[in-house]
Symmetry: C2
DNA sequence: CTGATATCAGTTGTACTGATATAT
DNA sequence: CATATATCAGTACAACTGATATCA
């Protein structure tokens, strides 16, 4: 089925929206839905006064235990340069602790505090709600399938 | 299946990557795959010296015919403020033409030139190749399903 | 008057680059 | 020497905001 005729003169009453050829491009759909997801997650975390990267760091620390800033960068996806201020904020709020590594004095050992652990539990709930809103129109099987397909894409482009 | 134990001391030889709890978040997967898609599309269009928004404007003009800048903004998704410079570039390259609307002198009527039409045909091929790279690991049925699911999300959050 | 249009100037947010001091 | 770490300053880019002149 072809698009609207090329060079069509705009007629009044004709509904106009993003052209189908544009709207169905995978790259465009990914960008659009990613933006919606980011907006919902950002709004959810803002309820606790925190940001996406704060959550990523706390989850990584919980999963793997104390780590250097370089390790946290690699595992969470935050740029090394930006990790500094993220940790400054988390440390100032008492959610993480920075201590020099006695075995390698270039490094800081970053670890979760009990306060950070409690905060993470709350963020987990907020994130779960946000993700549920992101996937709202999909049933459970569709959600699983979407995640599977996205992981296949992510794995392919990461390798 | 639980994650790695909480507070685990890093053991040498343990492979480390983004924690599973983080890696499987739909919002994160969308952001990651969208970034890859954008990178591939940007690289593809750069082969013709053009950008994403240039393509979006040309496609919209082909689909709906001559339009005002405000209409192009609404239909292509480009911010009104940014449309100006996009059209400046496209007009300077001879791909579109700006003419005052005799019926409403606030408006410009933007239309495709023959040069722009030829350029669009080339961009269509470049985009098709880029999208094919984006979806590379998926078979045809999976590609269709992914687009269907993403469109459901996009439609839900647009309404 | 209001509201829409095109334009430009400027802000914001985020990813990223580059340089530096320190230590391995 | 080369390499790795943490830090900070500054860049690049896109999305967005706000103001203005023009016109319906």
């Amino acid at each position: 089925m072809p698009d609207a005729p090329d060079h069509a003169t705009p007629r009044h009453g004709t509904p106009r929206r993003t052209p189908e050829r544009l709207a169905q491009l995978p790259s465009r759909l990914l960008a659009e839905t990613a933006a919606h997801g980011d907006r919902l997650v950002t709004a959810g975390l803002a309820a606790a006064g925190m940001r996406k990267w704060d959550y990523a760091v706390l989850v990584t620390l919980q999963a793997y235990g104390p780590a250097s800033q370089a390790e946290l960068s690699d595992w969470s996806g935050i740029h090394r340069s930006d990790m500094v201020s993220v940790l400054n904020d988390l440390a100032a709020a008492g959610h993480v602790q920075r201590a020099p590594d006695p075995g390698d004095r270039r490094r800081n050992i970053v670890s979760l505090t009990p306060t950070g652990r409690r905060r993470l539990a709350r963020l987990d709930r907020l994130i779960a709600e946000a993700e549920d809103r992101v996937l709202a129109p999909l049933d459970p099987a569709e959600r699983t399938e979407l995640v599977r397909l996205l992981r296949a894409l992510a794995a392919h482009h990461a390798g």
